[in-house]
């Protein structure tokens, strides 16, 4: 079982990187490696991805028929035409799994079991390493979960394709920001486990709020304008799903698209900073469960 011919396992060498690499480059390299591992970890669950795609597609048909019925004879609703509504639904069904509104309890589970201790023993801040992992996961979800509905939808419905070139980079940026922001929200919901042990309550609230207020159940543009403004500026929810989809379907002129993405960025920064503050608070009162 054990061979003892080697000897100096314990030799200590300072782990300092070559002086030519700046810290920023090293930081990105670490971040990239963690992201890549996130991609690989989620890529191992292929059946789950397939089941998810089937579900999202079925619901895509349901939602699309409902919204098109709302648009009715007039052929438009809340400023979207029929093709824009179809794009809104099918891109939304794909994006849902990329931003991952629901079903992430990794952090809460690790807090509950005490495995969080392992995360704290790494030389990388927990918020950073969880974010990097989540970006990797989102990268895999773009390929495995977002592409299928986006390709299936146009086979059955007329969809709106971007007509202005800035829409494409704006949409890409908006998706990345939505992932970061959604991660921060999920991190905060999960982090309540530091205080509550059991996160089912906050999780239910989050599921309800994010489903309604992010634009998943219906486009938020159906709401009165004043309420829309309150939601966009007062809560992060519209920035999770509604913003990238509005950018994609070009409902507004480019200037408004840019404004919406900037607002998203503001929310993402604010909530990431909140995550770090909450994590710091939590560590001060942390009780690691069990042995």
């Amino acid at each position: 079982m054990l061979r003892m011919e080697g000897s100096e396992v314990g030799s200590v060498t300072a782990t300092v990187a070559s002086p030519t690499d700046s810290n920023v480059i090293l930081w990105f390299r670490t971040f990239g490696a963690i992201s890549l591992s996130g991609f690989r970890r989620y890529a191992t669950y292929r059946q789950a991805a397939l089941a998810g795609v089937v579900t999202n597609t079925v619901f895509g048909f349901l939602r699309c028929y409902v919204l098109l019925a709302v648009a009715g004879e007039a052929g438009a609703a809340a400023g979207y035409d029929r093709a824009q509504l179809a794009t809104f639904v099918w891109a939304g069904q794909g994006l849902l799994a990329v931003v991952l509104l629901w079903g992430w309890t990794d952090l809460a589970d690790r807090i509950r079991t005490g495995d969080i201790a392992g995360d704290l023993l790494r030389p990388v801040h927990p918020v950073t390493s969880y974010l990097a992992t989540d970006l990797g996961r989102a990268g895999y979800a773009v390929l495995a979960r977002m592409l299928p509905p986006i390709l299936i939808g146009p086979l059955f419905f007329d969809v709106h394709l971007p007509a202005r070139w800035p829409t494409v980079p704006l949409f890409a940026g908006s998706v990345v920001l939505a992932v970061v922001l959604c991660f921060a929200c999920r991190f905060l919901v999960n982090a309540t486990a530091y205080w509550l042990q059991d996160v089912r309550g906050p999780m239910m609230l989050w599921m309800l709020a994010s489903g309604v207020l992010a634009g998943l159940y219906f486009p938020l543009r159906f709401l009165p304008e004043g309420l829309q403004r309150v939601l966009w500026f007062g809560t992060p929810f519209p920035s999770l799903l509604q913003t990238p989809l509005d950018v994609l379907v070009e409902r507004d002129p480019t200037a408004v698209q840019v404004g919406l993405v900037a607002l998203q960025a503001g929310w993402a920064v604010l909530l990431l900073v909140t995550c770090r503050l909450v994590q710091r608070r939590a560590e001060r009162r942390l009780v690691v469960q069990g042995g």
């Binding site: 061979r3 060498t13 495995d115 690691v288």
Partner: protein, 323 residues
């Protein structure tokens, strides 16, 4: 020698809520660690033992920066563990027997590779350390299997490797042999002994398996109810609690009066006087044999080593005394 761990008056209290009536809950203070002083030099192999709930894991978590102490001073590798946790993480390795620090869904090989980036270890150093661990811990057979599919023994060998790949100065092991079969236990112990022999890495080991301690550690710290009740070598522990090596002499015929031997008091007489058991205080085995040889025919001589389990069980049962 340089000091690697220095703790003074280390203390940790928790508040727990206890049911005290139908709706009422009382807050109660639980003291997990009650003023521990500890100094560990570079290269030491320290056994840190105590009964369940004595505060072993809590101490380890304070030393590694996971838990904030309620009071006291602590320095590990010259750093303050909680405020400087991420920097300290580069200099220490931790293995929890009851938890996994590897990535469940990744093969060991990928986990190790990720650790190289997380700890920013130059590729050549990483490769060299991994090569040594692969040889010593026989990892090659399961490097490409996802961690969730490994047996406990295989996973533990993976955990040890993962904790050492960044070349830590201190390795904390929290019950590393728990649940392992005899062969895997020996593999882990052998590996740690080898690591200790190199003399660069400081090992702090908590365990309930005292064979781990006997095999690996010269110095033993026993804690109970959050306090240090013994800090010294295993031999000192035996001396202090009166456990000595015993010499069992089998005689051809019983002696009417078993002789008193200087430095070796008679412990007991068995088998109708044909078996005499002497404790070795200051006398050696040879002196006992010489003392008996003139009086009776010796059929057999055997030596019983003191049993550390007995000593520790006695220690755990003794009420706390401050000394």
């Amino acid at each position: 020698m340089s000091l690697v761990i220095e703790a003074q008056g280390l203390r940790k209290e928790f508040t727990v809520r206890v049911k005290a009536g139908r709706l009422r809950r009382e807050r109660r203070r639980v003291i997990a660690v009650d003023g521990i002083d500890l100094r560990v030099e570079r290269g030491e192999l320290l056994g840190y033992i105590g009964p369940n709930g004595a505060g072993k894991s809590t101490t380890l978590k304070m030393l590694t920066g996971v838990l904030t102490p309620s009071a006291g001073q602590v320095r590990v590798c010259g750093l303050r563990p909680v405020p400087q946790r991420t920097r300290l993480a580069l200099g220490i390795g931790v293995v929890f027997g009851q938890r996994s620090q590897l990535w469940w869904d990744l093969p060991l090989r990928d986990s190790f590779d990720l650790l190289r980036h997380v700890y920013r270890v130059p590729a050549a150093e990483h490769a060299a350390r991994l090569r040594r661990c692969r040889g010593l811990l026989d990892l090659d057979g399961f490097l490409d299997i996802p961690v969730r599919q490994l047996s406990l023994g295989q996973r533990m060998r993976g955990e040890l490797t993962a904790a050492l790949l960044h070349g830590p100065r201190v390795l904390f092991l929290d019950e590393p042999t728990i649940g392992l079969d005899v062969v895997s236990k020996q593999a882990v112990r052998g590996f740690l002994a080898e690591l200790g022999r190199a003399g660069d890495t400081t090992l702090v080991l908590t365990t309930h398996d005292l064979a781990d301690i006997e095999r690996l550690c010269r110095r033993l710290v026993v804690i109970d109810h959050g306090r240090v009740v013994h800090d010294g070598t295993i031999a000192e522990l035996h001396r202090r609690y009166g456990s000595r090596r015993l010499v069992v002499a089998e005689l051809d015929a019983a002696l009417v009066t078993p002789p008193a031997l200087p430095g070796a008091p008679l412990e007991r007489v068995e088998a109708d006087g044909r078996r005499l058991v002497y404790a070795l205080d200051s006398a050696g085995v040879a002196e006992v044999v010489a003392g008996l040889a003139g009086l009776a025919t010796l059929r057999d001589i055997s030596i019983l080593e003191p049993d550390i389990e007995d000593v520790v069980a006695r220690l755990y049962r003794t009420p706390i005394h401050s000394d």
